[in-house]
Symmetry: C2
């Protein structure tokens, strides 16, 4: 059986070139870039709440970082450094190898260094804190929208929730459909590049777990009512909703083409509306049964 | 029953004046101080592993932050910002009130702002990430000691472990003794002020969970063998071990007097010794049965 130090040394001590001091001391030491603000976020994934027992550890490593990357992207920030708190029932080497490979593979893609953490014995729980950087005054806050701004959504929503519905026996999805939905649930692609490109163009942004335009897979779902529910409020989508002046439509079309990400105009900021009103293609208000996931409802 | 947003709004949204943007967006936004490095650390406390079911939530709030403050202090850094990931079996308001009061009370004492977090439903788990700042090149790293440096320990060790032994029925402590040991276990005082004052004086430092000079309570323990074990390798002490040149002894005596913290010279860095050799008052090597806690042994 591995000791705690062997576990850290073997699975969580890869080089962290962007840190002054990485894993191994009481703290990591980081040198922030002059002229930048820090954008920091933390998310915890628990067995039984966010994923099922026996979930593929490589996918868990990916997803635990992806959900944090999505938050940093939604601020228009570039991700830099991550810290991991990990509770494990036992020091299972095959699990650790899969998990750390999944985590580091995604981290490397975006230049993120794992600089610290904590490992302990307990029911499987994964908590990651991610630190990004964004130039002062260019962060995409959720309160930056102005009247008349277009509202945009990246990609499309509902597939992850459909996969959950399939696993729960609420719908039976076919082969390719199931595969695409499951990939969106297990290996979400955070919109990191998009977040960075929207700096100076978008005026506000958030990461959505509740979305609007439906993914192709959702359109093909055999249960239309369920598909609609998944699309509007299913969760686990990790797309960005952002607003921008109508003068920016060409810029945004260019970013969409450059990154190969669908960006869809789904609404407009209306003076005097205190909350979002969702309308269907005919302009009629849509009532959404489930308005996003609440862990305590 | 509280919703997740009500829970955050009611218990974890106090003002965070040192943040550009605190709780409520995808990320917090922080402006690092020019000329400073970041010292970042994370620690997770789990019910059943780090504390017993039914533990006082106010003490848990204190301790969850204290263990992180101790790590930041051990780098000689000033704590600035904290993020909290919290898994709860239910949104229990009386628990939340106690926990948040304990957490914020300690945070205020050291000027730390809680700027973000995540709440979810699950077995009770508390993960805090703490970000501190330390002037470039003044961080107290564990690899900074030089031959001939004195080795110092703050306070004294063993009391927290004695409280654990008492609760486990391995020893029966009397009233005042039990009270003092229990306070050290439940409400540890991180050496934040000391860490800051040692910048430029100490050459290396670590936070210890295994300590050396015995606390008064440990000396009074009815079971001397157990007391010795607790003192050398019991854990949960949150004292600092640091090294400094012998020329600094007067400075260190001054800091001890100023802060009212016992600082004891417990050894010296010897050329050629690859590991610490612990000697008793007669200078004979001491063999320590248990060399600190390992979560996977």
């Amino acid at each position: 059986m591995l000791t705690e130090f062997e576990l850290i040394g073997r699975y969580f001590s890869r080089p962290s070139p962007s840190a002054v001091l990485g894993v191994g001391d009481d703290c990591a030491l980081l040198r922030p870039t002059p002229g930048m603000m820090l954008a920091v976020t933390t998310d915890m994934l628990l067995e039984g709440t966010h994923f099922l027992a026996g979930a593929d550890p490589r996918k868990l490593g990916h997803k635990a970082l992806a959900v944090n990357l999505s938050d940093v992207a939604a601020m228009g920030a570039d991700p830099r450094w991550a810290l991991l708190s990990l509770a494990l029932p036992a020091a299972d080497e095959s699990w650790l190898e899969g998990f750390s490979n999944g985590l580091y593979a995604l981290a490397y893609r975006y230049g993120v260094d794992l600089v610290g953490g904590d490992t302990t014995r307990g029911p499987l729980a994964i908590s990651i804190t991610l630190i990004g950087e964004v130039p002062v005054d260019l962060a995409l806050r959720r309160d930056g929208a102005r009247d008349g701004d277009d509202i945009w959504l990246s990609g499309a929503t509902g597939e992850a929730a459909l996969a959950v519905a399939h696993h729960a026996g609420r719908v039976a999805l076919g082969g390719a459909l199931l595969e695409s939905c499951t990939a969106r649930l297990d290996l979400p692609e955070p919109r990191v590049d998009l977040g960075g490109r929207l700096r100076g163009i978008a005026r506000s942004a958030i990461d959505v777990s509740d979305g609007l335009p439906r993914a192709a897979a959702v359109a093909a779902c055999p249960d239309p009512a369920l598909a609609e529910q998944c699309m509007y409020g299913g969760g686990d989508d990790y797309e960005l909703v952002f607003t921008a002046s109508p003068h920016r439509r060409d810029d945004i079309a260019g970013i969409s083409a450059e990154l190969g990400i669908a960006l869809t105009r789904i609404g407009v900021i209306v003076p005097g509306e205190a909350r979002a009103v969702l309308r269907d293609r005919q302009g009629n208000p849509v009532s959404v049964a489930r308005a996003g996931f609440d862990h305590f409802r």
